[in-house]
């Protein structure tokens, strides 16, 4: 290779035009259109199932929704019209509420640990959290049954609200941990440095700076976990078991759940029961959607 010492202008007197050749421009345009179409297709593929699902639930569920649905329990026979899912709704809210009380503080604590004490142990905890996210929820129910519900695990708690809530909290826990960890990680190092610079100890920095700064994001994560828990049915089959009346006890009596009632309704070939099941589906989806929207709204208010 030789080094060109000539001034460039001498070798290349004709400056090249900035304009594209027509052929190039056309090809570029065709490529762009094709890609846009393809990407639009993938968006549709993602949205269509969701929209379809919502439509079906609304179309089928809405007509069966009425005041009675929220204020009465289901009649004894799936053939009978009328009645509602009051006991299921109570059970679902009750168990999800207790599961939240269990999983939110535990999950937040774990997230603070992961964030403040990075290292080998944190990595191990993180790994198990990830594994927990992938465990089939029906298996969580089975495990809770074996360990806590049945006498063989040593607890013999029996079917009921608490057993169901424990199963749900196991589903929710890894979601809370991972979302909280992400949120805590977003807190600027600047702020923590300011706190330490003022003579704050690590726990003071955590409680007075890191957690408040991350609060909106933490709330969002917790709500998304609640939405997930509220929609779960499988882990409740072997823990809550189901009930035909409103149950307020923590333990000692099987608890009802919207998902379990739907399961019962759909499994019988009677229109009345199936209609109520659709209404139950509508109710569940509404709860989950509202929670998700609230979560998004809080997330948007975040200052980070």
């Amino acid at each position: 290779m030789t080094i060109d010492t000539q001034p460039r202008a001498v070798l290349d007197p004709e400056p090249q035009s900035l304009r594209e050749t027509t052929r190039n421009a056309r090809r570029r345009e065709r490529f762009s259109k094709g890609m846009t179409f393809l990407l639009f297709g993938t968006v549709m593929a993602a949205i269509v199932p969701l929209v379809t699902l919502l439509t079906i639930v609304v179309v089928n569920g809405w007509p069966a929704i009425n005041g009675e649905f929220f204020t009465q329990v289901e009649p004894l026979s799936y053939r009978d019209r009328g009645g509602g899912y009051l006991h299921g709704i109570v059970g679902t809210l009750y168990m999800t509420g207790i599961a939240t009380l269990i999983s939110a503080p535990l999950g937040l604590g774990a997230a603070v640990y992961l964030n403040e004490r990075p290292g080998r142990y944190a990595n191990i905890v993180r790994f198990f959290t990830d594994v927990m996210t992938g465990v089939p929820s029906v298996f969580v129910g089975l495990a809770v049954y074996a360990l806590i519900v049945s006498g063989s695990g040593g607890f013999g708690l029996g079917f009921g609200t608490l057993a169901g809530a424990i199963a749900l909290s196991i589903i929710m826990l890894p979601i809370v941990v991972r979302s909280s960890e992400e949120m805590l990680r977003l807190v600027p190092a600047d702020l923590k440095a300011a706190s330490y610079g003022l003579g704050a100890r690590q726990w003071q920095t955590t409680f007075r700076v890191t957690l408040p700064a991350a609060a909106p994001g933490l709330t969002t994560g917790a709500i998304l976990a609640v939405a997930r828990g509220a929609g779960e049915t499988a882990p409740l089959i072997m823990t809550a078991l189901g009930a035909r009346q409103v149950v307020t006890q923590l333990t000692g009596a099987p608890q009802s759940d919207v998902g379990l009632l739907m399961l019962g309704g759909f499994r019988q070939p009677f229109d009345a029961g199936i209609e109520r099941a659709w209404a139950g589906g509508f109710t569940l989806i509404a709860i989950v959607l509202i929670l998700s929207i609230v979560a998004r709204a809080i997330a948007r208010r975040s200052q980070l």
Binding site: A193, S195, G197, G199, R208
Partner: protein, 296 residues
């Protein structure tokens, strides 16, 4: 430990004669600079700071006089910030950082095993390069430090005094409940100074406190710093030569040195002297080259 009085070997060299005819480079803002230096407040002896195996700054010996402003200047990466953070053990927060040598504050080695780094930071406060108020109200920002120490009753007083001391009171007294983030950059930095003052330290470290500010806000902070010397010892890192010349009593010039046996790059202290002397008759040619803009 009692406060040390001036002794021959602790008093930094003085340059009284040059004080009154300072050259045009210097803009006098505030009180006259001291010809005679005060007693030593912080003494560094042979301080070396490493990040893992990388030596960021090596063999620094330096004396910081009480209630004066000491400026650390030098090209980027020469370890000014690192050294500054060494003075209040902020480097403890960097897991890989290690400090050798001794840093004495009022004669006590702050790296002694039984010294509580948190106590060090309460006495030696810090203001950062980027204004970093908490996303809390102006009041809560200033009250943060005192609250850590359980102060409850005199809080209003402390907040007002600190804001006054930081020359911010008049601008914010009617909106103490507003977010600290709603202030302008210069105000935010003064809020950070007020926040540091509220803990009642006697040394304040400032790492390029004006680099994110406009010239007018910068001037206000510089004026404030001059006023603060009546109560505080200030160590400021700046890469703004004029700023060092304007505000500081003593200037330490650092550079990056590659001449050590391991052929590593690390920061070293070239010289430290009265600001006057450094800017008019530096004894090291590297200092002069840097100051006159020939490198760095």
């Amino acid at each position: 430990m009692e406060q040390q009085t001036v002794t021959e070997d602790h008093a930094p060299t003085s340059a009284a004669s040059t004080m009154d005819q300072r050259p045009g480079l210097h803009v006098d803002i505030g009180q006259r600079r001291r010809a005679q230096h005060n007693e030593v407040h912080i003494t560094l002896k042979d301080v070396t700071v490493k990040y893992g195996t990388f030596t960021a700054v090596r063999g620094v010996s330096l004396e910081v006089p009480r209630k004066e402003i000491t400026a650390l200047i030098g090209p980027s990466g020469c370890g000014k910030s690192t050294l500054l953070r060494t003075l209040n053990r902020m480097n403890d927060l960097v897991p890989t950082a290690s400090v050798a040598g001794s840093v004495r504050y009022n004669g006590e080695d702050i790296y002694d095993a039984d010294v509580d780094p948190v106590e060090v930071r309460r006495r030696i406060g810090m203001v950062f390069q980027k204004p970093n108020p908490f996303p809390k109200s102006i009041y809560d920002n200033v009250a943060f430090g005192p609250r850590l120490n359980g102060v409850k009753r005199e809080l209003d007083d402390i907040v007002e005094k600190s804001l006054r001391r930081a020359a911010l009171w008049d601008e914010v007294k009617d909106k103490l409940g507003q977010s600290g983030l709603s202030l302008s950059g210069g105000q935010q930095q003064r809020l950070c100074i007020a926040r540091a003052i509220a803990v009642d330290p006697d040394v304040i470290l400032m790492d390029e406190p004006c680099s994110a500010l406009d010239p007018i806000a910068t001037l206000r902070i510089e004026e404030l710093m001059r006023e603060m010397t009546s109560d505080y010892t200030i160590v400021i890192v700046t890469h703004n030569m004029q700023q060092a010349a304007r505000v500081s009593d003593r200037t330490a010039f650092f550079t990056v040195d590659v001449d050590n046996p391991q052929q590593e790059r690390s920061g070293v202290l070239v010289e430290v002297d009265d600001t006057e002397t450094i800017f008019t008759q530096a004894s090291d040619e590297r200092t002069e080259a840097y100051i006159t803009g020939r490198f760095g």
